[in-house]
Amino acid sequence: MPKRGTSPIDGELLQGTLDLLILQTLTLGPAHGHTIAHAIEHRSDDVLQVEHGSLYPALHRLEDRGWIASFWGTSENNRRARYYRLTPRGRQQLASRTTRWDVLVQAINRVLRPAE
């Protein structure tokens, strides 16, 4: 269930971050869970080492909110896999969350490196 409130920084930082990464990954086109997990890992230069399993509850949650949609398709290895794609609402969310993320990062940076 989405939490209401205007505060951009809350306790769900990590969880929110994962959501953001998933949404960003899906801007490139529909993908299944395995691809998404590896894409995140790869594009962050292996810095973000998440347990791939934790991706699935996040996918489930995002789908529940209507930000992504899913369908069964065939993978590169010719297997049935559940594909996810971004919905228009998800695209909006991604935009607004990215902005908020930038604000947050700048704020943290100002705190951590006040001299610069």
Partner: protein, 897 residues
């Protein structure tokens, strides 16, 4: 969110499992491509994914509404626990079933009598039209159970009223279905042509009475049957229109049948046959109510026009009242009555729940009974709370473990409450069944022989809602505190188990308080029961001034017997003589009004030109009357055959009459007369005898002055006569003789037979109901409270085994152990009894009007109640005390709690 997913969570779980499976396959393929062996590839893939089961559980949780899911778990767990403790479950459910059942049954009566709407179209639009403050100060003849208006008024109202789209009037009566001989009564209605239209009732067979049927002169009066009567008397014959029904010896064509649930407009009575109002003169040719200017016999209900409220309707009705009452003023009213009459104002009051005589009579008793059942339930809940506390103690270890491994207090409290809720739900469902049976029994109790009570007792949303509310309240009452207490204990202490000697003092306090509450409340109920029982006894043993036993009242209807008015005297004399000659009959006397029959006749009297300011009860009786009732003659003489229309008019009065009208004088020979109406002077009556005081209408009255006139001197005899018989055999022994004797005189005479005992019983049925029910509830309360006390004492003894063992090892003898325990119980009892006594005195005031011959604070009753309760309760605590004393000290000392 996921309501759909909630209901399809198993499907989604499978879906996710397949998805995770797909991930593993992909990862394994990739790993193999990277050169790992299949086995290594599989293990690496699993490592990468993490715990698949945990992931699925996470997702599963997201799909559930946790509260619902766990509530269901709790209920299943609770059910399992109850199944494993069948004795506890049975006791708890039975207690709750009795408690809620009693509540639901009484509520069902309250609902049926007071709350339920009439089963007609849009009942909220209906309003009753009547005279303000129920027309207090009216005089004249009152017949029917809703004597609100006269026919003349009705005609004027119908012409002048504006608020009602449709207005109807009705009167009730009793028809005799037998063509002669012993009567077979049916509940009759006379209705105006607008009756069924106004109510919006549709026929289930044929057609109903319409305006054309209630035409002047009544050319074609057709009868409408109730559904129940149609089933009972005509076997539900579809071709019943065209058949006929015999009412008081007159044959009427049946035109239709009303729907199954329609019973009329009076709650508590169901009609059998309805006729158009214009047919009334057929039944009362000599004194039709339609002609009587002072005959109040109609009730009126209308459907308000859209936009009209009862207030607005009342305003319009008030505006037309002065003119209306002026134009309908009876011709021979005395000035005083006329002034009251002209001041009357009409009003409209909501009538969606119909009218009811029962409602007025049984309102207070029903509310008192509802309060009593409420107390029973509270006692039952206190008892259950105690039981649950004991069980929670037994489950301390289990709960401690669960707390220790991380269950939250709220979660455990919720689980314990779910168990209580389960108990409450099962208990109230069983209670609802008990209620159905009990309320049927209560209605049967309210029945009198002549007038069966009809109440719609089908289960409706109100009853179910009430029972559910009772169940929830009960559950909270008995479940909440134990649940909170159980989870408040420190987990470590309960897991380790405590081996104390006098431990858990504090938890005891709560249980003691519960016992005190039970004792106090059950004393209230017990005292109430004793008060009602003693009132009933007082009423039953009150000396009515005549001998009820063996007395039979024979009511004869001569309307169909074709006896000319001038011959009635001769025929009535003949009837009395024949009845007196029946074997088993030792005396017979004619009476206009049989005592305790509910009928009455009163008026003011004039002595020496002075109007006395008291109402005197009157009766017109024949020579054998006082002998038949064994009422002693105190002075002077009885009526005799020498008192005729030609001789001096005479009267016999009772002792109270003498005390109030001729104090310290010899009444014999004095003259008085009943207040004259204009143009109708009453004869001057000479007192020839004084009889002992008797009851007139009911047992509760005291000091009623009665004057008896000689029936043989009545100038105008009605076509009815009653004869009181003194029999040695009772009714069964003389029934055949009576019907034969009357049939020989004239087979068309209608006969009703009733014993005086029966009439007295009918008169006291409200009191009997109260005595029985309050007795039942009182006994139930004492029983439950006793079980509660017993339980607490046993439990306390069990917890104090060690202490008792030590005391005995140190030399305390058995008697002192018993004394110690009994003293403990005694303290609780004393506090409870004192509290209960105070509550009883306060509570009994509300029942004052129902008591007879004793005060609500009657000390003897209080003492008796307290003594009874104390004795039973001490017995209940003696048993555990005795067991404790019998226990060998070594056993107690060695025992590990």
């Amino acid at each position: 969110m996921g309501w759909i997913r909630f209901f399809r969570r198993r499907y989604w779980d499978d879906e996710r499992a397949r998805e995770l499976e797909a991930y593993l396959h992909e990862e394994i393929s990739d790993n193999i491509a990277r050169g790992l062996s299949p086995d290594q590839a599989r293990r690496a893939a699993h490592r990468k994914l993490g715990n698949a089961a945990l992931i699925r559980e996470d997702i599963y949780q997201m799909n559930t509404v946790t509260l619902l899911e766990t509530a269901w778990q709790d209920l299943r767990y609770g059910a399992r626990l109850l199944r494993r403790n069948p004795v506890f479950a049975a006791v708890a459910i039975l207690t709750l079933a009795l408690g809620t059942g009693a509540n639901a049954a009484i509520f069902q009566l309250v609902d049926a009598v007071r709350l339920r709407s009439l089963p007609v179209e849009r009942p909220d639009e209906l309003a009753e039209l009547r005279i303000d403050s129920r027309g207090k100060g009216r005089s004249g003849r009152f017949i029917s159970r809703r004597p609100m208006l006269t026919y003349r008024q009705w005609q004027e109202i119908e012409r002048q009223q504006e608020p009602f789209a449709s207005l109807m009037a009705w009167s009730d009566t009793s028809f005799d279905l037998a063509g002669g001989g012993e009567e077979r009564p049916a509940n009759g209605l006379w209705v105006t042509g607008s009756f069924f239209d106004t109510l919006g009732v549709q026929p289930s067979v044929g057609r109903l009475i319409g305006p054309a049927d209630d035409a002047p002169g009544c050319p074609q009066p057709g009868a409408v049957l109730s559904y129940a009567f149609w089933q009972r008397e005509y076997g539900g014959d579809q071709r019943v229109p065209g058949r006929t029904v015999l009412l008081d010896g007159h044959r009427f064509d049946i035109i239709g049948v009303t729907p199954e649930h329609f019973f009329g407009v009076e709650v508590g009575r169901a009609f059998d046959v309805a006729l158009p109002l214009c047919s009334e003169p057929v039944f009362r040719p000599a004194d039709s109510s339609l002609e009587g200017q002072m005959t109040w016999f109609l009730g009126a209900i209308g459907r308000l026009k859209p936009g009209w409220t009862t207030d607005r309707a009342t305003a319009q009705l008030r505006a037309i009242s002065p003119g209306l009452f002026r134009s309908t003023l009876p011709d021979n009213y005395v000035a005083e009555d006329a002034a009251a009459y002209l001041a009357f104002q009409l009003e409209a009051v909501p009538a969606g729940t119909g009218t009811s005589v029962l409602r007025g009579n049984y309102s207070t008793p029903l509310w008192i009974l509802l309060a009593a059942t409420g107390l029973v339930l509270v006692i039952a809940c206190a008892n259950l709370a105690n039981l649950l506390l004991a069980r929670a103690t037994a489950r301390e270890r289990e709960i401690g473990v669960r707390l220790a491994i991380g269950a939250s207090r709220r979660r455990i409290a919720r689980q314990l409450l779910s168990e209580s809720l389960l108990l409450a739900a099962i208990g109230s469902a069983a209670g609802l069944l008990i209620a159905q049976w009990l309320s049927g029994f209560l209605v049967a109790f309210l029945n009198s022989d002549q007038r069966p009570v009809f109440l719609d007792l089908s289960v409706d949303w109100r009853l179910v809602g009430f029972t559910a509310a009772v169940a929830v309240v009960a559950c909270l009452l008995f479940g909440l505190v134990p649940a909170l207490r159980a989870t408040a204990a420190a987990p470590a202490a309960s897991v380790l188990g405590s081996r104390g000697t006098t431990d858990l003092r504090e938890r005891f306090t709560l249980r003691r308080v519960l016992v005190v509450v039970q004792v106090a409340l059950s004393l209230v109920l017990l005292v109430g029961a004793l008060l009602f029982a003693r009132s009933l006894r007082n009423l039953m043993t009150v000396d009515p001034g005549f001998q009820q036993e063996g007395a039979v009242v024979v009511s004869l209807d001569f309307r169909r017997a074709d006896v000319p008015a001038e011959q009635r005297r001769t025929v009535y004399d003949q009837v009395v003589a024949r009845l007196a000659g029946i074997p088993g009959v030792s005396a017979a006397g004619e009476a206009f009004i049989a005592p305790l029959s509910g009928s009455g006749w009163n008026n003011r009297i004039v002595v020496g030109g002075e109007l006395k300011p008291l109402l005197v009860n009157l009766n017109s009786v024949g020579p054998g009357y006082f002998r038949a009732l064994a009422t002693p003659l105190v002075a002077g003489r009885d009526f005799s055959d020498q008192d005729t229309q030609q001789s001096t008019p005479v009267a016999i009065v009772n002792q109270t009459f003498v005390k109030q009208v001729f104090p310290n004088e010899n009444p014999i020979g004095r003259v008085f007369h009943i207040e004259d109406s204009p143009g109708e002077p009453n004869p001057r009556l000479q007192i020839v005898g004084v009889v002992a005081d008797t009851k007139y209408q009911n047992f509760r009255e005291t000091d009623v002055p009665i004057a008896y006139v000689a029936a043989r001197q009545d100038a105008k005899l009605p076509p009815y006569v009653q004869v009181v018989l003194k029999t040695t055999t009772g009714l069964p022994g003389v029934r055949g003789g009576i019907t034969r004797a009357i049939a020989e005189i004239n087979p068309a005479i209608g006969i009703q037979l009733q014993t005086m005992d029966r009439m007295a019983r009918n008169l006291l049925r409200g009191e009997r109901l109260m005595a029985w029910l309050s007795g039942l509830f009182g006994a139930l309360a004492v029983l439950i409270a006793t079980i509660g006390l017993y339980g607490v004492m046993s439990y306390m003894v069990a917890r104090r085994r060690m202490e008792i063992g030590i005391r005995m090892a140190l030399g305390a003898d058995r008697a002192s152990v018993v004394r110690m325990i009994i003293a403990e119980a005694g303290r609780l009892l004393v506090i409870g009894v004192i509290l209960g006594a105070a509550l009883s005195v306060a509570g009994a005031r509300s029942a004052q009007s129902l008591l007879y011959g004793l005060q609500p604070w009657d000390p003897a009753t209080l003492a008796l109640g307290a003594g009874l309760l104390g004795a039973i309760a001490l017995l209940a605590s003696w048993l555990p005390a005795w067991r404790a004393a019998r226990m060998p000290p070594t056993a107690a000392l060695r025992e590990e709690p």
